[in-house]
Every structure is written in structure tokens, then in C-alpha cells.
């Protein structure tokens, strides 16, 4: 038989195809990362504390002890860290810091003139690649030290990667809830609106009930809880429509989508009116939250990792455990795989569906408070068209819209694929209209590849 004669080569090829087939979305993600990396291969001029330390070592090597050094950097946070690292590196070695410049080339000239006036000697200038090209630096009668540059993909820098994930954390968080809904063969179009509603409710509550500027962390937390609860109740409403009245999920959540968006706008306008006075024209502006602590969730970080990413990862782990280790997870898969068989097996179908839609709403609400915190206010227009991006992420992640098939890990990868595509296009400098075209085509391609999975898998199956 041909299969038997193929020997081990055929078997290995089959195994490889099988492996690729099962983890196609991972392959796609890796491929996209590779493409993005190649497309963004640029000269890198690191301005970090590590490169600062390297400059300090260069100075010590070339120009030992009694030596005066001028540190030059721009007036940015990264530059200051860089400069501080240089000084720390030189500290205690006997090298004298003659002066520091944080600013423009002009500031360097002024500093050099000041040093000349004072009459001190200047042996070296420690700076980074960019400032080393400045006229005053080059013409100064001193040796210039700067860190070497190297080539590396801009895409693959820690800062960019964190940025990519951070900007798409809200999409990924909503995609979790959407995965549950899609697993039950449903769909939820209301997530974008629920995101906005949760953000606005949180902002209004923080401003009007929990003290505005003076709001305590507990008060802010209560406001956020209120926002998430409202979104969860929205989900419960569509769940009720779907279970008790057999309304198709598409229609039920379409209604809720408009309803929630309208409510968010009304609340925002009402808040504006109360702020400005009864007669003011209502405009749907963001509801600003004045309490400084409110921005922490969206803009703070833990151990260098932005908070939205931390929240996203925590939620992903929780959702993964929920779907693989608990009765509820099994029930969700069963309801999506075959409702009637699930019902006859004693699965509480109605309760499972209610919980799924409720959870989806809650996840949208969580994304809503992240968004509000990031922009320091509830934006009634936030999250428009998010539902489509989220559904794309879930489908790209391998879930079947027919229900019963899909994994949380797949959704995470799907969300990342969407994020990487967007980021890659941005860095590569593709204009926004063209971006839409490329983006759409890439989603279709990703889903198409996913559809090929069963065909690849067929190599493995042994029919009886």
C-alpha cells in the first residue's frame, strides 16, 4: 500500500502537518511576528540605563581618574534615566562630572561657554548617539563617548511589544467573554456599547457620588464595581431574551447594543448639563474623572508591565481554568456541542446560557473601566465597532461560530494576531485606509487557514 511504502519519511511529514494543523494559529502568529520583524529592521540607538552604564565604562577605560566629563542628554524621561546611569557608573571612580545638560543643542553650547568662562578643563563628553551628532557636541574640544548602535527590528523591542499588547488588552479581555458566548453557538454584538456604558457609569459615579477630586480608592473601586455590574446586568438581559423568549442572540444583542450606547450618551450628556448648568447644550463629551488615583488601572504598571496587561493575563488564566477545570466549563462546551443532548444529560441549559451572557457583559464592563481609567474619564463613544474586532479575534483564534469548538488559549493568540497585524502595519507606515484593506484581507486569510485545519488533520484520522 502506498502509505506503508512511504516509510518513516511519510510518517514524519504527516506528523509535522498534523502538528501544524492543530496549532495553525500559533504558526500564523509566529509568521506575522517574523514578517513584522523583518519589515522593521532598523538601526537602534538605545537610550536606556544599561547603555548609560556602557558609556560610563567606555569613559573610565579611555580617560582614567582625574578627568572632567560633561553629560549631555535630551529632556525626556528615558534620557534622564540614561544620564543617571552614566553618573552612577562614574560614581566613586574619581572622574569629575563637570556639568549636565538636559535639552537642545543650544543648551549644550551655553553650557560649554559657561564651562569655558569658569575655566575648568573638559576632557570628555558622555552622551547618546543622537546628541553626539549635535553641532556643539562635535565641535567641542573633548572626546565624545556614546553607546554603539546596532541593527534590530523595532517591532521586537520590549517597549513596542508591551505597547502592542497594552493597546489591545481591552479587545483581548472582551474576547474572553465572547469566546464563551460563541462556544454556545451564540454571538454578542453589544460588547462595545457595554464597554462605553460601564466606563460612563463608573465616571459619573466617581464624580457625582464618591467625591470627585477627593474620591478615595475605595470610592473609586465602588464606582468601577458599579460600572462592571451594569454591564453584567446588560448581558443578563440579552441572556434572558435568548433563553426565556428564544430570541436569536444576534437580534437580542443588536437591540442591547443600541440601547446601551444610547444610555451611555444620555448619562454623559446629563452629567455635562449638571456640570455647566441646566440650559447648557448637551454634547456627548467624555465624563472626566478628577481623582488622580483613577488613572492607575489604565496607566500604571507592576514590575514594568502595564496594568491592563496584568489584568488581561490574570483574566485569561482564570477563564482558562474556568473552561477546562470546572463543571461550568464542561457545561458550556456541552450546550454548544449539542443543546438537546446536554439537556437530556441533565445540564441546566438555561442557567448556563444566562451565566455565559452575563459573564460576557462583565468582561466588556472590565474592559470599559480599563478604557475609562486610561483616558481618565468615561467616553460614551468608546468601543465603537469593537464587537467586530473581538469576534474576529475569537474566530481567528480557532473557535467555531457553530459552537462547541474553541479554546481560551486560542482566543489569546487570536487577539494577539489582530494586535500584531495592526502594529506591524503602523510601524511599516501603511496609511490608515490601506490598513483597513490589508487588515480585512489578513483576517480572511487567517480564517481560511483555520478552515484548512480539518483537511490537514485528515492525515491522522484512521477511518474504520
Amino acid at each position: 500500500m502506498p502509505e506503508g511504502a512511504g516509510g518513516s519519511v511519510g510518517r514524519w511529514r504527516r506528523k509535522l502537518l498534523d502538528l501544524l494543523g492543530r496549532n495553525l494559529s500559533v504558526v500564523v502568529l509566529a509568521l506575522l511576528c517574523l514578517i513584522s520583524s523583518v519589515a522593521t529592521w532598523r538601526e537602534q540607538n538605545p537610550i536606556t540605563s544599561r547603555s548609560g552604564g556602557a558609556v560610563a565604562r567606555q569613559v573610565l577605560e579611555a580617560c582614567p581618574a582625574p578627568c572632567a566629563v560633561l553629560v549631555v542628554a535630551r529632556d525626556t524621561e528615558a534620557d534622564r534615566l540614561f544620564a543617571r546611569a552614566i553618573e552612577e557608573g562614574l560614581d566613586g571612580s574619581g572622574v569629575r562630572i563637570a556639568g549636565r545638560v538636559f535639552g537642545q543643542p543650544r543648551d549644550v553650547r551655553l553650557e560649554l561657554e559657561r564651562l569655558a568662562m569658569v575655566g575648568g578643563s573638559l576632557d570628555a563628553i558622555a552622551t547618546h548617539r543622537i546628541a553626539s551628532e549635535w553641532g556643539p557636541v562635535r565641535s567641542a574640544r573633548a572626546r565624545v563617548f556614546s553607546p554603539g548602535s546596532y541593527h534590530w527590528p523595532t517591532f521586537l523591542t520590549a517597549r513596542n511589544l508591551l505597547n502592542v499588547v497594552n493597546q489591545n488588552a481591552d479587545i483581548a479581555i472582551i474576547a474572553l467573554g465572547m469566546t464563551l458566548v460563541i462556544l454556545t453557538a451564540g454571538i454578542d454584538l453589544s460588547v462595545g456599547s457595554l464597554l462605553a456604558l460601564a466606563g460612563v457609569i463608573t465616571a459619573v459615579a466617581a464624580q457625582e457620588w464618591f467625591g470627585g477630586v477627593a474620591a478615595s480608592p475605595a470610592g473609586l473601586l465602588a464606582a468601577m464595581l458599579l460600572g462592571v455590574t451594569a454591564a453584567a446586568l446588560g448581558g443578563l438581559l440579552s441572556g434572558t431574551m435568548v433563553t426565556a423568549f428564544r430570541v436569536p442572540p444576534f437580534v437580542a444583542t443588536l437591540g442591547l447594543m443600541m440601547l446601551a450606547r444610547g444610555l451611555a450618551l444620555i448619562l454623559a450628556v446629563g452629567h455635562q448639563r449638571r456640570l455647566v448648568g441646566g440650559g447648557a447644550e448637551g454634547t456627548p463629551e467624555a465624563v472626566r474623572v478628577d481623582a488622580a488615583a483613577f488613572a492607575w488601572l489604565g496607566n500604571g504598571s507592576v514590575l514594568g508591565v502595564p496594568n491592563p496587561i496584568v489584568l488581561m493575563l490574570v483574566l485569561f488564566v482564570a477563564a482558562h481554568l474556568l473552561m477546562t477545570r470546572t463543571m461550568f466549563g464542561r457545561y458550556v462546551y456541552a450546550v454548544g456541542g449539542n443543546v438537546e443532548a446536554a439537556r437530556l444529560s441533565g445540564v441546566p441549559v438555561t442557567a448556563v446560557l444566562l451565566a455565559v451572557y452575563c459573564l460576557c457583559g462583565a468582561f466588556a464592563g472590565l474592559a470599559g473601566i480599563v478604557d475609562a481609567s486610561r483616558f481618565e474619564g468615561g467616553r460614551p463613544n468608546a468601543g465603537e465597532l469593537y464587537e467586530l474586532q473581538v469576534i474576529a479575534a475569537v474566530v481567528v483564534g480557532g473557535a467555531s461560530l457553530a459552537g462547541g469548538r474553541g479554546r481560551i488559549a486560542g482566543t489569546l493568540i487570536g487577539a494577539m494576531i489582530i494586535a500584531v497585524i495592526q502594529n506591524g502595519l503602523n510601524i511599516a507606515g501603511v496609511a490608515s485606509y490601506e490598513q483597513k484593506v490589508v487588515f480585512g484581507a489578513l483576517i480572511l486569510a487567517a480564517v481560511l487557514l483555520d478552515r484548512l485545519q480539518p483537511r490537514l488533520r485528515r492525515f491522522r484520522r484512521k477511518p474504520l
Binding site: R330, S345, G346
Partner: protein, 512 residues
């Protein structure tokens, strides 16, 4: 008409067909039997163009045939009736009959002609089905009849029927068999696949037995089709033996010791519209109560109501004396009433999930830890225990249940309820579409469950099965219980059939 020469087909790891040679002449009906996995389906797929053979030659109507697709084969006059229905539920019977290409006049439907033709085709099958009702309102049996009418509309030269009577009542099945003979009389050939050997006996001129992809008995040359005395070359026992390769002494396993004890389940005055009318009966501990009747007599509905799966208008069900609240299957299962549904794939199993997941689904509360977590170790242990006891054949517990054979799928459902510790097991057509060997094992399990003190309600359209397994049989007709057979092993099947057909003995046996 059709000649197969040394056809072989293999899939990775399996040789599905190994050099099968067959010949079927015009006007002949070939019975094709064999256990599940013996290669019948593959043979049909090869003949009908769905699959290409790896080796061998097919001749059809005297010329070499290599069908490119099922549509190609259909064009050449090969019609296949599959086990699975291919009707569109939202369309009417007539619309389904003429759904395929080639019935319209340049895209314009010929409604009058269709109506006439539909009546004629359904009339041939002796079925009183209104061509204008939607297929979704028909019973499974009626749907199968429509399916057959659809194939007959093509006036095929070769008609292939794959388990066509699985969902039919005996009357419908007999009409179908007559129709198959009629097709043969008009000069076409037919291949008839069935697990019901009495049907094979009734309809086939010759019988081919497949085992492990080989023709073990029957015909590779044109031989005398029928023995001189007009009998088939093989009798039923020989056929079974040839199929399974081992001899089954009796068709039903022996009764196990275990006394029938006190009443466990009492059903009183159950009614649901026109389908179930005032049904009352008892089942005792350790008893197998058979429910005989034609398709549509209301047997399935009775089981579904008792299992909490169907709303009803009146009546009550008591378990061990206390009244049950039957609002959902969940509640019925909690009280110990479990249903083996008739449509195993549609209602019993989540096909996309693993065998173990399907086994565990109603039992997750038993493998629970910290309220909601699933203890996967206990789950695995429980499954492997039942897997061993019931001899469920699978490669690994995570194997998708859809890839198992019908018998093994049914065993997964049985294992699920045994783990649950069911008190009452409602078996609705437990052996439908299951091969002889696995069927016997399921009989054994029904016996065994009863001997352990559980109560079994057995619904089957195969009269032999109900009579052979039950301790007592009730016969339903038109939603009512029309008779009771206290000693089914000695009962006359013809008499039972008379009751089921509504012609029953006038003295209606009272129940309870």
C-alpha cells in the same frame, strides 16, 4: 449490471476492503450484511462514487466505470439511500422529493406535475403522507419513506439501501421491502444492507457477507442465486455466524437470577395532546417492561415524559411511592430516572467531545472537588472502570465520540447512567443501527441491570427484541395502551402485531 473485480481500499492503518469481487445482475436484489466496520459503508462509498478504490475494477452496465463523484454516479443511474436523512426540514414533502437538479422545466417548477408524481411515488410505498406538509412535522419513519420515494423518483438502475428500515415501523418496513422487490421486477438491481436478518431473508435473492474487508461468504462468481428448494443459500444462524466469525447459541442472552420485587415506578393517566392518551403502568424492581407498538404509537413520548424531557397535560409519575416533579431532565436524573434516547447521535451525545467527556457530563457532580472543580483523576478512573466492564473499544479516553462505532457509542451512554446509579432506565431503541455482536452485549447489559434490581422500560420497533428481552410487554396503539402480554417469550408475534396495528383482541387487558 454491476460487477466488482478485486476492489481494495485502504485508509492509513486500516485495510477497509481487501480484494472484494461481486456481481449483481439486473432484476436481482443482493443482501449485504456484516458487522459495523466490516467494510460495508466503504463498499457503498466506492460503488456510489464517493470514494475511489485503490485497486480493482468496477463495471456498470457492461462498461468500465470510474465515477468522479456521487453526482456522476447518480447521473448514471445509481441511487443511494443513506441511514442519515437528507431532507430539508423546512420544505414540504413534495419540495424535498424534487429538490435535486433536473426536475424543472428550464428552472421553472412544474407544480402540477410534481403534485401528481409525488402522490404516485408515495402511493407506491403505500404511505398516506400529504405531499404538502412540512418534513419537520413528520416522524422519523415517515421521513425515511420520503427519502426512499425521492430515490425512486430517479428511476435508478441500481438502488442501494443502507439500513433503510432502522426508523420504520414493521408495516412501513414491509411496504419498503415490497417496493424493493418491485424495483427489481422492473429490471433494476438493488443492494440491500440491513442488520435485520429477517428482512434480508425476505428481500434478497443472494447474500454477501463482509468481514474485515473480505467477502467471507457468498458470491464472487455467478452461482445459483437461490437453492433448489427456493431457500436462500444461507440460513439466519449461518449468516450470523459468518458475520461475527463466532457462533451465537441464542439470539438473546439467558435470564439472570434476581427476583422481580416491589413496584418502583408508577405511571398514572399520562396524557399529552393526541400523542399520549391516559397511559398508566407500573414497573417493578428488577423488571424489564417492554413497550411494543408501531412508530408514532406514542412510545417515545411516554419515555420522554417520564424522563422529564417533554411537557405533558395530565397524569402523574411516582417513584417508590413519592410523586415526581418532571419539569426537566435534570430533575428526573436527580431522582434516578435515566433515558437512552432513540436518536443517539442527535440527543444522546455531544459528538465533538471525547468519549470520557460524554460519559462524565451528567456525573460531574460526582467527580466534584471544592464545589465546582472537576477532579479529573476520579473522572478518568470511573470511566476506565466502566470502559473495562462494558468493553468499550476506543484508542484512548480522549478519542472523539463521533469516531466510535454505534455500539461503542451506545455503551458510552449506558456507562454514563450506570455511573449515575440509575433506578429506572428508559431504553428507547437501544440497538438501532448497532451490529449484531455489540447488540448482544447490550442485551446482556439490559438483563444485568434488571438483575441488579433496576427497572427497565424497553422500547423497540423490533418485535423479537421486545418479546425476547422483556418480562412483560405492553402494546401501544395511537397513544393508548391496548394490551398486555404477561409472558412475552411464549407470545405469538402475529398477535402482538395485530394489537399494535389497532386490530387487537377486543378484550382490552387492563393494566395496574
Amino acid at each position: 449490471m454491476l460487477e466488482l473485480h478485486r476492489i481494495s481500499k485502504s485508509y492509513p492503518g486500516v485495510d477497509a476492503l481487501r480484494g472484494v469481487s461481486l456481481a449483481i445482475g439486473a432484476g436481482e436484489v443482493l443482501g449485504l450484511v456484516g458487522e459495523n466496520g466490516a467494510g460495508k459503508s466503504t463498499l457503498i462509498r466506492v460503488v456510489s462514487g464517493a470514494e475511489r478504490p485503490d485497486g480493482g475494477r468496477i463495471e456498470f452496465g457492461g462498461e468500465a466505470a470510474a465515477f468522479a463523484s456521487p453526482a456522476d454516479a447518480r447521473e448514471r443511474g445509481i441511487a443511494v439511500i443513506h441511514q442519515e436523512l437528507s431532507l430539508v426540514p423546512q420544505l414540504s414533502v413534495r419540495e424535498n422529493l424534487f429538490l435535486g437538479a433536473g426536475w424543472s422545466r428550464r428552472g421553472i417548477l412544474r407544480r402540477r406535475w410534481e403534485e401528481r408524481e409525488a402522490r404516485r411515488l408515495l402511493g407506491l410505498l403505500e404511505m398516506d403522507i400529504d405531499p404538502d406538509v412540512r418534513c419537520s412535522t413528520l416522524s422519523l419513519g415517515a421521513c425515511q419513506v420520503v427519502e426512499i420515494a425521492k430515490a425512486l423518483a430517479l428511476e435508478p438502475r441500481l438502488l442501494i439501501l443502507d439500513e433503510p428500515t432502522a426508523a420504520l415501523s414493521p408495516r412501513e418496513a414491509r411496504a419498503l421491502l415490497r417496493q424493493v422487490r418491485g424495483v427489481a421486477r422492473r429490471g433494476a438491481a438493488a443492494i440491500y444492507i440491513s442488520h435485520r436478518l429477517e428482512e434480508i431473508e425476505a428481500v434478497a435473492d443472494r447474500v454477501a457477507v463482509l468481514r474485515d474487508g473480505e467477502l467471507v461468504h457468498g458470491i464472487d462468481r455467478r452461482g445459483p442465486a437461490v437453492a433448489d428448494d427456493g431457500r436462500l443459500p444461507l440460513d439466519r444462524d449461518e449468516l450470523i455466524e459468518a458475520m461475527v466469525g463466532r457462533s451465537l447459541s441464542t439470539e438473546f442472552p439467558p435470564r439472570l437470577p434476581g427476583a422481580i420485587a416491589e413496584t418502583r415506578l408508577e405511571v398514572r393517566g399520562l396524557s399529552a395532546g393526541r400523542r399520549v392518551r391516559d397511559v398508566s403502568f407500573d414497573i417493578r424492581r428488577g423488571e424489564v417492561l417492554g413497550l411494543a407498538g408501531l412508530v408514532g404509537a406514542g412510545r417515545t413520548e411516554v419515555a420522554r415524559i417520564v424522563a422529564g424531557a417533554m411537557p405533558f397535560d395530565g397524569g402523574e409519575v411516582r417513584l417508590d411511592g413519592s410523586r415526581l416533579d418532571l419539569r426537566s431532565p435534570r430533575q428526573a436524573i436527580r431522582s434516578g430516572i435515566c433515558l437512552l434516547p432513540e436518536d443517539r447521535r442527535g440527543q444522546g451525545l455531544i459528538l465533538g467531545r471525547s468519549a470520557q467527556d460524554n460519559f462524565a457530563l451528567p456525573n460531574l457532580d460526582r467527580f466534584r472537588r471544592l464545589r465546582a472543580l472537576v477532579d479529573r483523576r476520579r473522572e478518568r478512573r470511573a470511566f476506565s472502570r466502566w470502559r473495562e466492564q462494558l468493553d468499550i473499544r476506543l484508542a484512548r479516553p480522549g478519542q472523539r465520540v463521533a469516531t466510535l462505532s454505534g455500539g461503542n457509542q451506545q455503551k458510552v451512554v449506558i456507562a454514563r447512567w450506570l455511573e449515575r446509579g440509575a433506578k429506572v432506565v428508559l431504553c428507547d431503541e437501544p440497538t438501532r443501527g448497532i451490529d449484531v455482536g455489540a447488540r448482544y452485549e447490550i442485551y446482556e447489559w439490559i438483563r444485568r441491570i434488571a438483575s441488579e434490581g433496576k427497572s427497565v422500560l424497553l422500547i423497540s420497533s423490533e418485535l423479537e427484541e421486545v418479546l425476547g428481552l422483556s418480562d412483560r410487554v405492553l402494546v401501544m396503539h395511537d397513544g393508548r395502551i391496548r394490551g398486555e402480554i404477561p409472558d412475552p417469550e411464549r407470545a405469538d408475534p402475529a398477535g402482538v402485531l395485530r394489537i399494535a396495528a389497532g386490530l387487537g383482541p377486543s378484550e382490552e387487558t387492563s393494566v395496574a
